[in-house]
Amino acid sequence: MNTRRPVAAALAVAGYVVMLVPILFVVVTAFTAGSTLRFPPEGLSTRWFEEALGYEPFLTALVSSLQLAALATALALLIGVPVAVAIHRGRIPGKGLVEGLFLSPLIVPELVVGLALYQQLMIGFGLDSLTALTLGHTALMIPYAVRVTGASLALADPHVEEAARGLGASPLRTFATVTLPLLRPGIFSAALLSFVTSFNNVPLSLLLQTREFRTLPVTMLDYVQQSYDPMVAAMATLILAGTVVLAVLAERTVGFAKIFGGINR
């Protein structure tokens, strides 16, 4: 940081404090030996990690969350990649409109979508929680698949694919041997983004939960409301550790900034 720009540097430091210090507090609290959320913590222990890992509702919810995130990510890619290919390589009328339509789930507030699916599909249609959640999460993840894989398609030279066709490869073979490898970094970024976004989602998962199927973030919110002990801090620290592993993986493979660059532009 530059000391010749004192005002900017002071604001930047304040920004980092707001972004990161609360996360440190979660970690410190998780290692307390005491039984309340108090600061400074009373002694050091790993008892709350043991409690969290032995707490049945958290474990069930963790499995549910991973299941849902994997399912929604796979579906969003299966549906979104063909859409990206059609938009960037196909001859379809009104491309801008089509792309806008597929990105529209990003604009509508998630809580509004959650309420809509709960009211119309679960109550109105009698869908079970997992089906409604899969539908909703997939619809929300499709924009990531379309935009992020679309960004890597837009960068790739379409002449390579035309050359493959010209040399006699079938459209399917061209897709499998030329287009798909070009798309690999985009698909990886989109998969990572949708998995994490689905895993962390609260608004949809909150409204579409049932006693039989609820995700980890929703279960943790619920727990905080009932009881004020540090077990949630321990669970949160475990999630943090998992997220750090994913982030390092992302940085090593495609680069962090690139993954998020695709969604903002």
């Binding site: 530059n2 900017a8 059609a86 979508v113 309420l115 009211q119 539908l135 943790m220 905080v224």
Partner: protein
């Protein structure tokens, strides 16, 4: 690729979008079960005149604006310093600013309970200094919500501003300096105007996120400091009042569409200017 064949690629996506998003959302907004569009709009009309509802709408907009100002005010300096830095730590610091985007909102927000709670760090520190006898109420206040939302959306502001500042040629800063402008003047009359498209994107994303966020006002605002999102949840899952839920959802959706529309209008104006 043939036009008919490429249109076929869109079919599964369109089907999912219709069933999993568009149709349910439109039905919920304009034709909730047991009532109709007329009732939703009547409720919307009462909402815009009722002091209780208005207070929630106003709190949502007001806190949204404050959080937007804070995120741009803190995020732009971070983006600016990182984009202009030649230090090898700049990459690490950028990654640290982006990393929270991958982390669960619940995890990020939970920290404030430890900092602001009754036995939290800030309260205990204030008591220890002897300035106050009892820790002041910090949790379940608007201040807590503002802090929580700023933490949540600051990374988004940093990324949007960063990609804009990084595109501004540092040579222009030097040219302005060479022509006699001071550091401060160069910043305000060269760097800021040239990266304004990124600032607008940042402000739009932050505002839209802040006025629709649920976890933060739920955990840090409680039932005393309701915002549109927590109110919407109460209408749909506690009192099951579909007309009020739809009207609240409409207010939230219109609010977000309005800022997105304003932002893209600004983008077009900037492009033609």
């Amino acid at each position: 690729m043939h036009s008919r064949k490429s249109a076929l690629l869109l079919v599964p996506g369109l089907a999912f979008l219709l069933v999993g998003f568009l149709v349910p959302t439109l039905l919920m907004l304009f034709s909730p079960p047991g009532t109709g569009a007329a009732e939703v709009f009547a409720r919307l009309g009462r909402m815009l005149t009722d002091p209780y509802d208005l207070r929630i709408i106003w709190r949502t907009v007001r806190l949204g604006l404050i959080v937007t100002a804070l995120c741009v005010g803190l995020g732009f300096p971070i983006a600016y310093l990182l984009a202009r830095s030649t230090s090898r730590w700049a990459g690490v610091l950028l990654a640290l600013a982006i990393f929270p985007l991958l982390l669960s909102n619940v995890v990020r927000t939970f920290g404030w309970l430890v900092i602001l709670g009754a036995n939290g760090a800030v309260g205990q520190a204030l008591v220890a200094t002897g300035l106050v006898d009892r820790a002041p109420q910090l949790l379940y206040t608007e201040l807590a919500i503002v802090l929580g939302l700023t933490q949540l959306f600051l990374p988004l502001a940093v990324i949007s501003c960063y990609s804009a500042v990084a595109q501004v040629d540092p040579g222009l800063d030097e040219a302005a300096r060479g022509l006699g402008a001071g550091r401060v003047r160069t910043f305000w009359s060269v760097v800021v105007p040239l990266s304004s498209p990124g600032i607008v994107v940042a402000a739009t994303l932050v505002f839209a996120g802040a006025v629709t966020a649920y976890t933060t006002p739920y955990l840090l605002g409680g039932s005393g400091q309701r915002m549109l999102a927590t109110q919407l949840y109460a209408y749909s899952s506690v009192t099951v009042d579909w007309a009020s839920a739809s009207a609240t959802a409409l207010v939230m959706t219109v609010l977000v569409f309005l800022v997105s529309g304003l932002s893209s209008a600004f983008g077009r104006k900037g492009a033609t200017a």
